[in-house]
Every structure is written in C-alpha cells, then in structure tokens.
Amino acid sequence: MGIISGYIGRVYKQFTGEILVLPSRTVALLFCLTLFLLPLITADPYILRILILASIFAIFAASWDLLSGFTGQMNFGHALFFGVAAYTSALLNLHIGLPHWLTIPLGALAAVLAGLVIGVPCLRLRGPYLALATLAFPLILTGIIFAIPGITGGELGVSGIDRLSGSRVIEYYIVVTLMISLGFVMWKITDSKTGLLFHAIREDEVAARASGINTTRYKLLAFCLSGLFAGIAGGLYVHFMRIAGPSTLALMLSFQAIIWAIFGGIATIYGAIAGVFILVPLMEFLRVMPEIRMLLFAIIVMLVLLFMPEGLTTWVRDKIEKECPRCKLRNLATRKSCRVCRADLG
C-alpha cells in the first residue's frame, strides 16, 4: 500500500512539476484530453472524419519535421513514404488478405526501405539540389504505378480495402491514440541525444563531422525514422479512405506537409501537429465560402508566416514562456527566476 501511494505521489509530483508548470505542456495535455473526451460529447461522423484525417496528416507532417526540420535534409517529396506505405498496405490487404494491424506495420517497413533508397543517393546533396532530388522520387514511383496498372490499378488506384473498424468512434480512437503516441515518440527522439545530433547536422554538418559524429549514419537514420512514421500515416490513411491512388504520391501532398509544419512551427514536432489541427478544420470551415476558400486559406497562411516567421506555436510559446539564460530550461513568462537553477530571468 505504501509503495502504491509513494508511486502515486511521485507521479503527481512529476505531473505538477513537469507538465502543469509550463503553459505549453498544459495546453498539450488539454488538447489530448479534449481529443479523448470528444466522442463522449459528439459522435457526429463528419466531425470525427475531419479529426481522423487531421490525426493521420499530423503524423505525416510531424515525420517531415523530424527529417527536414531537425536534420535540415529538405525533403520536397515526402509523399513518397506516404504513398509507398499506402500502396503496400492496400495490396497486402486486397490480394493476400492480411488484416490492417499487419498491413500498416508492413507498409511502414516498406516506407523505411524507401527512406534508405532515397537516403543513400541523396547523402552527398544539400540545399536546393537535395530538395530537387527528393522531389523526383514520388514522380518516378507515380510513373511506375502507371506502367503496371495490372497490379497498382494505374490511374484508378486500388480500392475495396478493409476499413480500420466498422465503427467511426473506434476508428477515431485508434487513429488519435496512435497520433498522440507517435507524436510523443517523435518528440522524445528529438529531445534525446539523437535529436541533438540531428540539430548539429542541420546547423553545421562539417563541424559535426569534425567532432567525430558519423553524419552519414545519422542522416540515413533520419530518413528511415521519418519514413517509418510517414509510412504508418500512409497505412492508416488507406484503411480509413479505403483507396490507394496516385494522389497519395501527389506533389500537393508533399507541399501540404511542408505548409503544415512551417505554419505550426518548424523543428518542434508539436508545431507540425498543431499546424494540421488548425489548418485542416479551417479548410473545412471555409467550405461555407467555396468560391474564395483557397484564397482565404492562402491569405491566412501568408499573414501568419509574415508576422510569425517561426510558426504559430513558436510565436505563442515565446509570448507565454521564456528560456533561462543559464540552464536553457523554459519557464512561465511571469516568473522572475528560473524554476530549476534560480537564475534571474530579467
């Protein structure tokens, strides 16, 4: 009994000391709680559909952020991972009859292989050259898909795939739970030593290599990890939409990942997730003005990036929190001294 109460006490202390102490983490917690409790308030299938799609795209956008935001490997063809996993999951489900809990991981594995296939030839490229090279891969795969329509369905795609569940609410809980878990895993990766090395590669690759870091290995790791998470998103998408078509490899999808991540705040993971959860419902809301929907969307994105060049969440976070100049930990903006090292926060 004493052990249990001691454990609860420790969890409570960590909860108040690590989460409630910072507004950004409290907001993240509230966001997760809201997502979990929402079906108790409304089970409207349309609202759940939008949130399921937002969750899938949030994993996808965060996986782009993991690769391009953290390691600086600018990937303009991120839909490749999504599409490879989508087609793999769809074909395995349709032709072999594997269930979705197997096809989604296998699709993600195929996306990891795609990450290696891209990563190896692109290791020597940087900046715009890398961006252009990555842009080419989804186009090549699209060409292959059209070349073998007997297997891929060509322009029509592959349809008739099993859904995640017969119930929209269960589908919602599967996808949202995965989104929150994978988002947390990605955030922990970037917060770990590996994440620090990703940062170092982005800031100065030569200096990182001079410090003894095997940058080739870490860049390949970033490609594979990014492929893994984007692949899970692709597998979820295909079992939710029940179709895998050429649109899963479209340039527009690659660019959307970039827009979501930059809008929310690049190199943060949570920024990409926030970007999707703001922009996807916003686009739905703008359906009330169909004629100017895309125009309004573009204006909103431009205004946000004009006044908040580092992204929305970064801008908000900097308004409500400040970083300790000594220990670099974040504190509530109203605090006078650091919550850990007691340094003066000005």
Binding site: I50, E155, L156
Partner: protein
C-alpha cells in the same frame, strides 16, 4: 377592477397570439434536398451545377416532385468537392453534404479516384448517388460484385470508357471509308497524335493493334504534352510520314494550338478522334477559324438526338451563356430521379433504387435505360454519343452519319463529313 385588469391582460395576450399566428410564415413547403457535388472551380463542376440548376428550376416551376399525394420542392445544395486537388477533401465534402447539409440524393462526381472515395461514403449512408462525370467501368462493376452495398450508385453520363473507345474507332473508320471512296486510297495511313497522359495510353495501344486489321497503316506515334503550345514539329513529321489521317486524343489545352496549326499549315491529313477543346463553343474563335474541319467525339450537338436535345441546348445557353458539356448531364439525372421518386411514392432509398432500375427515359442525350450493374446502356436506340465536325464556324453532327448508315440510327440535323479541301487537293485523283 382587478378582475377587469386580468381580463384585459388575457385578451391582450390572446390578440398577440392571434396576430403572431396570422402574421407568421405560411407552412413551409416540403423539400427534397439534392447535393450537386463536383469540382466547382472547374468547367466540369460548373456544368454539373448549371445542368442541375436548370432542371431544378423547371421541376419547381411545374410544382415540384409528387411524392405520394404531396408536392415537394427541389432544393439544390452546391458541394465543392475540390476533387482535382485532394481526394480526402472530396470524401469529406460528401460526408458533410450527407450529415451536415442533410441531402437526400446526390448527383455529380468527375475524377475517378475521388469518385471511388465519394461512392464509398455515399454507400455507407445508403444515399443514392447518380454519377455524371467519371467514365471508368469499375465504378459499376462494384454494383455487380456487391449489389447490396453499391446498389445506390447509378451512372447517368458519360457512357463508360469501353464504349467511348468503340465510338472513337468508329469515327476513324467512317473517315477512312470517305478517303477510300473520294480519294481512291485503299489503305489509308494513320498518324497517332495523343497527348502524354495515362488515359490516352490504352487508346494508342488499341489503335496500333486494331488499325492494321481493319485496312489501315499506322505510320507513327507522337505524344506531345497536354499543355503544349506548339505542335508544328509533330505536324511536320506527320506530313513527312505521308499520313492521310491524324487520330487525335487530346483532353488538355493543346487541342487549340494543334487545330490552329493543322489548319494554318494545311497538313494534308484528316483530323479525327477526341479533342475536348473542339467540343466547346469558343473553339472557333480560339483557333481564329483555322480549326475548320476538325472532328471530335462529343455528347451534345445541335442535332435531334431526341426531341428534347435542341430545346435543352437552347435553354441551357439562354440560362448560362455556354454550350453544355457532358457533365451537364446532371439535368438528365434530376429528371430521372424525379420520375423514380414519383413512381416509388416515397423518398426511401431502397424503393427509389428499385424504380431507378426500371428507368426508361427519352432524354436530351438519348434513351436512358440502366444495365443490371447500373451503367447507362450504350447502343442503337439508347445513348450512343456523337461525332461532330466544325464546318464554317458551326459544330455539326457527322456521326452517326445521315441516312441511318450506322445501325439505322439517323438524327435529324446530322450532315455528311467533309474532307478538308487542301487534303483533297493534295491526295485527290
């Protein structure tokens, strides 16, 4: 005094209630909500809307739709699917139309991949969805494979892509016969000129395989971009190859510069096949008249496919100011739906499906009867499509040829196909 006050207050309240009741809106007319779903930023979606709008206005002017012994007004809901850009957007738009806008029936759809996704959403809710844009046969194969789930899907227009291909080759065959008869060339040479797009691949492959078997020789294949602005290199090569016919497959804007340059250079080869730009009324002005003698497959032309065709085209142009494209077949879809609902006497989807299956309507593009897999029936006496040729600024129907030469199908207003005079001059006896 108190009693008087009480009585006055009750009287006042009664008056207020009476006034409120008499001044309130009349009992709202019952309505049937029909969602018109399509890419509204594109001409295909616009014509989905215009076709449905014209039909809804006409139906409402006639009193609406009689369900049992009650009249219902048609209310249209414009649903922008954004399907050209995003497939998930299209599926979300469909679900929103059903769950938020509470539409009773749906018409429209264009991009195949998106229509598959939208079809699944509509079937989840057992909502009747009349397709008016996508031609792939697989959309109807689903009905045959899983009738209970997909029975709510029907294709009104266009005829499926297999039949589109058949008509394409029939047009080519008709022109080949003309060349044989007028120019004495027994084995006409054909140049295949198709835009670099996936939809054109099976047509190109089919042409290479089929044409030699029906007495024609293929002299080469050229594949410009769908957005090319200059095809003079291809046309020069085709002329040098000695082609008598150019078999076109164009859906993109390349159709305009192609026709203009073909006419300007007077390439001595008849142009026949699919050129979507030539299906539009603005084609003549866009080519500066150089597109004279260009021939393409089409759905509508000012010809009496039925007695409904020309009056419909006139009303459409008067209302919208544009010549209808095939996605304006939503007009037909609404009338087909109206008839089925009135026969069923209920809005229940299953009952309406049963009546839709019994559809036999003489409409604007022909006689519509659905096949067992809910596709539009193709063939003489049903919907067959048209071949049109630009002749001195007018889009004329040239196939089925006049005089009932093809399967006895004879549309009043159809005229003979004319070989370009510069071609006759170059190859004539």
């Amino acid at each position: 005094m108190k009693r008087v006050m009480k009585g006055a207050i009750i009287l006042l309240l009664a008056c207020l209630v009476g006034v409120a009741t008499s001044c309130g809106p009349a009992a709202a007319a019952k309505e049937i909500k029909i969602g018109v779903i399509g890419p509204m930023a594109y001409v295909q979606g616009e014509h989905h809307w215009y076709g449905a709008l014209l039909a809804a206005e006409e139906i409402n002017a006639q009193g609406g739709i009689l369900v049992g012994d009650e009249w219902y007004q048609v209310t249209l809901v414009k649903v922008d699917s954004n399907e050209m850009v995003s497939v998930p957007d299209a599926a979300s738009a469909m679900e929103r139309a059903i769950t938020v806008d509470k539409v009773d029936f749906l018409v429209g759809g264009f991009r195949t991949e998106a229509v598959f996704a939208m079809q699944d959403v509509a079937m989840d809710y057992a909502k009747i969805f009349l397709g008016c844009g996508a031609s792939t046969p697989e959309l109807c194969t689903r009905v045959a494979d899983d009738y209970d789930r997909y029975k709510y899907w029907f294709r009104v227009t266009p005829m499926n892509s297999t039949y589109l291909g058949s008509v394409d080759f029939m047009l080519l065959g008709m022109v080949a016969e003309k060349i044989r008869a007028e120019l004495g060339i027994e084995v006409p040479k054909v140049a295949i000129l198709a835009e670099k797009a996936v939809w054109a691949d099976p047509i190109v492959a089919g042409a290479k395989q089929l044409l030699p078997a029906i007495g024609m020789e293929v002299v080469g294949e050229w594949r410009p971009s769908p957005t090319a602005t200059d095809v003079t290199a291809e046309l020069s090569a085709i002329e040098a190859a000695g082609a008598h016919m150019i078999f076109t497959s164009f859906s993109g804007p390349v159709g305009v510069p192609y026709a203009a340059q073909w006419g300007e250079l007077e390439i001595p080869a008849a142009s026949v096949g699919i050129n979507v730009e030539a299906q539009k009324e603005g084609f003549w002005d866009a080519t500066g008249g150089k597109g004279n003698y260009e021939m393409t497959m089409n759905t509508y032309a000012r010809v009496n496919i039925t007695d409904e065709t020309i009056p419909f085209i006139d009303r459409f142009i008067a209302r919208v100011g544009e010549f209808p494209t095939y996605s304006a077949g939503t007009y037909e879809a609404l009338y087909i739906l109206k008839a089925a609902i009135e026969r069923a006497g209920t809005l229940d989807s299953d009952a309406v499906v049963a009546e839709l299956e019994n559809t036999d309507r003489i409409g604007t593009a022909g006689r519509t009867v659905f096949t067992s897999d809910h596709d539009v029936t193709w063939g003489p006496g049903y919907v067959v499509g048209l071949g049109v040729q630009w002749q001195d600024g007018e889009m004329k129907c040239v196939w089925p040829p006049p005089g009932g030469e093809w399967e006895g199908v004879d549309y009043e207003g159809a005229v003979d196909y004319i070989l370009p005079p510069w071609m006759v001059e170059a190859w004539g006896p």
